[in-house]
Symmetry: C2
Subunit: 475 residues, 2 copies
């Protein structure tokens, strides 16, 4: 047992012998053993006990613990909390209420004293029960690996660790330790502190499953250990992929680069999605399998875009080159699209128009057109276009879409298509469509900057009068 | 159900509709449903059935299956095997014997017909039982994720896949399918084919655990799915780290670069060690946790080296800069150390001696020693040494170690230490020590090439007669 403890102390619990450690003591064998061992290892301790005020003996137990602290010569804080009332007010089970109040007390005490950590007496048996509990919920790697011996950040603090030095020690060993060291636990509170579910696991399910597999508890404890190691290998990979996929983090949303996210393995996409949800809803426990799968399946099928509900007011939005995990109420940024509003603008050549948000459209005549050189105007930058003015009837204007707009996209042999259909086909983000700038003549759309030019005004070998238009973002 | 099947067909099972698929059919509902679905999806099938000859009805069942194949108009192969005899000869349970013979038959049939895969009727229920079985054994990620829907390579073939298209379909759904499609299973063999342990899990443990967690089976199925995704993320990371750590793979051994291996996280070290063991003993199942932990702990503590038994005649050897996972009988290479054998060799100056394996020792007098320049002879290449000849009594010789050898290592103020202790301290590989070349005078060791020089013959400000010795590997 001493060897196992030393292993935990040195490899898992990063104790600082110069700083205070708050030990949560209930009076049961686990916490008495913990206290004794920590004391003997020379740590600077403060004992903390919560009086649950749920039973008649509670005050007597608290007094008993004060005496124990006095015996060791270490400071002792006892706090009285009316757990019953708290449970009722917050509609919690008594066990859950007691747990919350206890940890709050321990960590507030630790903060007040600038302690390095709060130590609690979870044992290997508790660990196995936790693993099994998570398994029965169908939990992932994080659940199956159980509790951590040194957890920081944790649910109660970002800086003060939650230490569980006894996580590798079996209850039997602890009881033997108590006997050998003349530690007399008061009435065992630990069973009271467990939920009904946990107690049933301990006294019924585990003995039952042991008939299937001897040494089951040891096996599960080791399994948890190995899975923890795997997760430690996974974590940095997920972290670096997260950074690779991340576009932006804003108020109520996380934006991923769609293409990079889509390239990832399904398992990685699951982890990134969970991580985004966790970032937006830090308290959100047990994100369901279906929730994540719903998101994954949208990622797979979303063409020009789509949206799907996740959980707890979060949704997944796929738009153009961006995938958002966002709160419903979040105001997603426009991602800097060029947009026009209001009346059409007549286009003068040469000329320059500011569209707002740093976007500017420049128009000029290309004067010297050498025979045969026109084809070079078909370039790869979709934010530049060359039009044959002689093919255009009527004045050029810049405007947003209208009901019934049509275009003959270049490359479709003059076929007319609905602008709305084209916008879907080219995967223009849904929210961007209404205000997207269009260069039009009265009859048709000639250029959709970034997406398509018209067959009508295309440059041909005989083209004479050519204009060049560019839409540039000046930041 | 059709939707779920399509998902499996398209995303998991990579069926080639132009190539043959061998379907293993027992006559139970799972395999009849499988056969019907595969047939209707238009795959080129060959039906294969093994007559276990364990029960009176076996021949009748085989005939029944021939009729079913005839009804579909697909080829049918029936093989008779005396499972009972095989089980007895190989000391196997009847179920295990049947399983081995069945898969051998299916895959040999597939090979004969150049089939793409062997399809078997494992269901979601089978998957959950597998997961639970592995959990009870305390298995790692690979076990907890259960069986694969498309497994290649597998235990039976490196090229022909083992396909399990029904892995996402519940037994209930399969039974409903059989009823709706007028498929009449012969006596259900599937229960017979399961082991006692599996049957107990199905009929006792799972219903019991469902009282703890409603929809437990669905939860475990999803858990397996998520864990599979995590493993898919892990795999390439392990693969690239494997390549990074690997030094050499030889007959009966895998050699790692010790320093690189030591830098890895514990979880990664576990996976690399398991992979090395798997490479050396491909059939080795269930490598125990303790085995791997024994290896890890040697890695952590081994100073100058050490060795520890792993399992199945494998050991872990830490030597110098190398970590070996090796069979006991493997002849580990000497990694090119300089070694001497036989009688001492008198050293003439100037002179040159070949030690074998490409190693050569050169000796020469340094003629012009300028005052104050001698200190420059203290260099950083441990395979070169300068000795003050005036401080040496007796002739110089080159030899291997002897009982009682001593040296006064430079930097220890003339203190004498045992050569054997020094070799441990400087982490000289154990196997290299006996033959390591030493430059000695009758009284003491003066130079251990690569490791230490002597205080006795050190160069001092007044040194006049200096010799230079180098040990060079000429390849």
């Amino acid at each position: 047992m001493i060897e196992k403890l030393q292993e935990t102390f040195h490899n898992r619990c990063h104790f600082d012998f110069t700083r205070i450690l708050v030990v949560g003591v209930s009076g049961g064998p686990d916490s008495l053993c913990l206290l004794d061992i920590l004391y003997k290892s020379g740590l600077k301790l403060v004992l903390a006990h919560m009086n649950h005020q749920l039973r008649a003996e509670a005050d007597q137990e608290a007094n008993n613990i004060r005496k124990i602290a006095h015996g060791y010569g270490i400071p002792c804080v006892v706090k009285e909390e009316n757990v019953g009332v708290y449970a009722e007010v917050h509609s919690l089970s008594v066990e859950e209420a007691a747990r919350i109040l206890r940890y709050r007390f321990l960590f507030s005490e630790a903060e007040r004293r600038d302690a390095q950590a709060v130590a609690v007496g979870h044992t290997a048996d508790d660990q196995v029960e936790t693993v099994l509990m998570h398994l029965l919920r169908g939990s992932g790697l994080e659940g199956l690996m159980g509790m951590e011996a040194w957890q920081v950040p944790n649910a109660w603090s970002k800086e003060i660790a939650l230490a569980r030095p006894l996580l590798g020690i079996w209850r039997e060993e602890i009881e033997a330790y108590c006997r050998e060291n003349d530690l007399t636990p008061s009435i065992d509170l630990s069973n009271f502190e467990k939920t009904y579910f946990r107690n049933r696991l301990r006294h019924e399910a585990i003995p039952f499953l042991e008939t299937y597999s001897p040494h089951l508890k040891e096996k599960l404890l080791r399994m948890a250990e190995v899975l923890r190691g795997d997760l430690q290998v996974l974590d940095p990979v997920v972290e670096s992929t997260w950074r690779e996929c991340l576009k932006q983090v804003g108020d109520g949303y996380v934006a991923f680069k769609r293409e990079v996210l889509n390239e990832q393995l399904e398992g990685m996409q699951r982890r990134l999605m969970r991580r985004a949800m966790d970032q937006l809803r830090p308290g959100l426990r047990d994100i369901g399998f279906e929730v994540v799968e719903r998101g994954l399946s949208l990622l797979k099928r979303a063409g020009s875009g789509g949206r799907v509900d996740l959980a707890d007011g979060l949704r997944l939005v796929v738009e153009g080159e961006t995938v958002w995990v966002a709160a419903w109420e979040a105001d997603l940024p426009e991602t800097g699209w060029p947009q026009v509003k209001g009346q059409p603008i007549y286009l003068y050549i040469p000329g320059s128009i500011s569209l707002g948000d740093g976007w500017q459209m420049d128009l000029q005549t290309v004067l010297d057109v050498e025979e045969g050189k026109q084809l070079a105007f078909h370039n790869n930058d979709p934010y530049q276009a060359w039009l044959d003015v002689d093919e255009i009837s009527g004045a050029l204007e810049l405007r947003s879409r209208r009901e019934g707009d049509r275009i003959k996209p270049l490359g479709m042999e003059g076929q007319r298509v609905k602008l709305s259909d084209l916008m879907v086909n080219v995967k223009m983000p849904h929210r961007a469509r209404t205000g997207w700038p269009l260069v039009c003549c009265p009859d048709e759309v000639l250029w959709i900057p970034g997406y398509a030019t018209s067959h009508t005004s295309r440059i041909q070998p005989g083209s004479k009068r050519i204009i060049h238009i560019s839409l540039i973002h000046r930041g």
